[in-house]
């Protein structure tokens, strides 16, 4: 699915990723964790082709991403901040993404689920932050691609929408998708994900099941296990 070899990236003098290797070749939910500045966002952006690596190679579904933008047809991306053109209507924005990605069977279903019907003909500038985030989620989940990348998906959601999001993620998992999630909320990660990828200083410090991470560090919950990993690295 996703194969990354020797990925390095510097921003000016700041080395963010240094020779990172990562292979994700099965379905499931993977959390990408790490302290601020550990390279999570850069890693995701490199997979999406937004950041151009200094060295290394990224393959998505066996094709090198340098060759053509078409590989992104296989990825749905949920950006962290939902900000859309002010004067488009929700309906038009949905139409635009379908224009770019192909028609979606799921769109109407999701509009029902998130109760977006009253907003369909409103301009995006008039929506609240939470509603925008729902639209954001809808745009991502209405497309049926084998890989999903969710960047801080819980930001700004009310509890009801959060439950719906969790259901959606689980549904995608059962449909055999590969899902990458970044999040700062450990309870969310612990509840949702199968495996964690822990980044530290531009490299992968740990990759594996949450259970194994807890065992390795002799901790009962994920938060403390991560804390142990961080402490070890300072020694």
């Amino acid at each position: 699915m996703i194969e990354i070899r020797g990925l390095s990236k510097k921003f000016k003098k700041n080395e963010v990723l240094s020779g990172l290797d990562l292979v994700i070749d099965k379905a499931g939910i993977f959390a990408i964790l790490g302290p601020n500045g550990s390279g999570k966002t850069t890693l995701i952006k490199a997979i999406l082709g937004m950041v151009i690596p200094d060295a290394g190679e990224i393959k998505v579904a066996d094709s090198n991403i340098k060759n053509s933008p078409d590989y992104r047809q296989k990825i749905d991306y949920l950006p962290q901040i939902a900000n859309f053109p002010d004067n488009l209507k929700v309906r038009e924005l949905i139409a635009m993404i379908q224009d770019l990605r192909g028609d979606s069977k799921e769109a109407n279903n999701l509009i029902d689920r998130f109760d977006l019907h009253p907003f369909m003909d409103k301009k995006l500038v008039n929506l609240s932050g939470g509603t925008k985030q729902k639209v954001n989620i809808l745009l991502t989940f209405m497309i049926d691609s084998p890989i999903l990348i969710l960047d801080e998906p819980t930001t700004g959601l009310d509890p009801l929408a959060l439950i719906q999001l969790k259901d959606l993620i689980q549904e995608k998992k059962h449909a055999g998708k590969t899902i990458l999630i970044t999040s700062h909320i450990m309870s969310f990660v612990e509840e949702m994900t199968d495996e964690v990828v822990f980044l530290l200083e531009g490299k992968i410090r740990f990759k594996g099941l949450i259970q194994k991470l807890k065992q390795d560090t002799n901790q009962n919950d994920l938060e403390h296990a991560i804390a142990v990993l961080l402490e070890e690295s300072h020694v």
Partner: protein
């Protein structure tokens, strides 16, 4: 590219600023025509406004749009489309919607006034044409500036400086150099100097078309010889085209290697 263009045009065409921009020209042209009753005088006044205002609005709008739509651009970058298409689509969306405000805002009052029966139609068309050229040029320059500057405030600063330089400072420097070197033949130099700034080029083009070059003395005569002819006209339009092509080309090259 056309898909992006379509939606960014939809977005901008409904923006309040497009209407304000349109209304400004509409009222200005209406007042000038119906209080003045002199078509060519109205054209000159409009020219003076267009030549300063179009570059200013083009740069500010271009920079503003780029920074405002940064997150949305990231979403687009994650779609299976080429970077080039995204940015050219957005660029054309802005340039076309601004041009529409200009063309309709000035065009409608002139048509009401009875432009089609008047001899001034060519001067008027040239005025609109240069206005559109200036819009395309300055929006492209604005995109170049914003692509270089992650920091919004810096980007805005440079954009305003660029406008100030092109619309005001350049003329001052140009004039000063003419005064300093007045002992030498300057006709060629001033011709080239004019070509190098799209704002000056547009102004000269219109003024000479309006046949008031006698006001400009000897250099004016040289200019008249050049700009007054068809060769001059086409060369100038060619140069304005180059002023669009180079910044647009640079956008395409720059976005290929940029990290977002």
């Amino acid at each position: 590219m056309f898909k992006i263009l379509k939606y960014s045009f939809y977005d901008l065409a409904r923006s309040r600023w497009s209407y304000i921009y349109f209304l400004f020209y509409f009222i200005l042209a209406l007042v000038l025509l119906f209080l003045n009753h002199d078509l060519s005088k109205a054209v000159i006044t409009l020219m003076n406004v267009i030549i300063i205002l179009v570059p200013l609005i083009g740069t500010i709008f271009g920079v503003m749009y780029y920074y405002n739509s940064r997150e949305f651009t990231e979403l687009l970058l994650a779609q299976p489309i080429k970077r080039k298409s995204i940015f050219l689509g957005q660029y054309l969306g802005i340039a076309i919607s601004l041009s529409m405000s200009l063309l309709l805002g000035i065009g409608i009052p002139f048509v009401i006034y009875g432009l089609f029966n008047s001899a001034a139609i060519w001067d008027f068309s040239l005025l609109l044409l240069t206005g559109v050229f200036l819009t395309f040029i300055f929006v492209a320059l604005a995109f170049n500036i914003s692509l270089e500057n992650e920091n919004k405030i810096k980007g805005f600063g440079y954009a305003v400086l660029l406008w100030l330089f092109m619309a005001v400072i350049y003329d001052g420097l140009f004039l000063m150099s003419l005064v300093m070197f007045e002992d030498y033949p300057l006709d060629k130099l001033s011709l080239i100097g004019t070509m190098l700034n799209p704002v000056d080029l547009s102004r000269t083009l219109i003024l000479l078309k309006l046949d008031i070059s006698a006001l400009m003395g000897y250099t004016g005569a040289v200019f008249k010889q050049f700009f007054g002819t068809d060769t001059g006209l086409f060369t100038s339009i060619g140069v304005l085209f180059i002023w669009i092509l180079i910044p647009v080309k640079r956008i395409v090259v720059r976005v290929k290697r940029k990290d977002f």
